[in-house]
Subunit: 95 residues, 4 copies
């Protein structure tokens, strides 16, 4: 599994982003991936880079459909081939 | 309050970072700031930029003391002057 | 056009990353996208999210082929629908 | 030396950020640190974490003075103790 976190920042759509982020979370939950909501970013578990990419693209599409003219997305991807990781295994290693 | 998330990535110290991140979390908890541990980054609440900076510097110092030769830190800071924010107010706006 | 910057951080492969980043740049240049090399990240211009994703995935594949066990990638994407942007138009707006 | 890149994203101040970023660059140049302007972020060389922090705080102050209600700042810091680095030494290692 690949663990990734991402945040989308709407520009040109006011100082508050709650309703945009909520719409993105709804899409993520419908997509079936594991989602952990954070105050600064959203963490997901994906099977592939392609899946992460599709979700990021969909998130951008949602904001544009909500009339946001510009979106800055930051994605951080943890790709590890020496052992299997997940959101839970990563959190466990921090306990 | 200023809400910030940050991650420290040790380079030249193996593929696993758990023990380093745990040491950073211990320092953060002792510092008295509110800390929320995530799979990809740690979120904190601070009173000032200076406080965030001191914690980031301390985190880097901890890793260097543990013989890490190089640390890549990413800090994201949410600074808002039109209304008071906190980790909880941000999470509430996502519900 | 979509402008994006990204950095790949090899973990478990020593403190220096030059040879890995050079291999990624070679791949990017062969791909035909516009590439601007920076000290902290690489900026590219792409036609689509899919193209950015493929390049990020290829970059990770290159590092794994070079025996890097873990890669942390950070991608920042500037997606703007109210006007056409490029690396040059963005740099021009800063002059 | 510590090499860092950072970007400030104004929220609640329209879709374009050029004039804000230009004001930040002016401040950085006056500060005397080495500055390299990029399409997606600005790279600086600093002597200490404290100096990076002061510049980031000043950048946020400039935006707030320009009536930006909210600023999202992302700072990436490359802190290396096994050898001396600079923007130029990092770029050289990529050639």
């Amino acid at each position: 599994m690949i663990v990734a976190s991402f945040s989308v920042i709407p520009m040109g759509a006011g100082a508050s982003a709650g309703r945009y982020i909520r719409a993105v979370h709804e899409m993520l939950k419908k997509s079936g991936v594991r989602v952990v909501v954070g105050a600064m970013s959203t963490t997901i578990e994906a099977d592939s880079f392609e899946q992460i990419c599709l979700l990021v693209e969909k998130a951008n599409g949602i904001l544009v459909d909500m009339e946001v003219p510009r979106v800055i997305t930051t994605v951080t991807i943890d790709y590890r081939v020496d052992k299997e990781i997940s959101i839970d295994s990563k959190l466990d290693s921090l306990r």
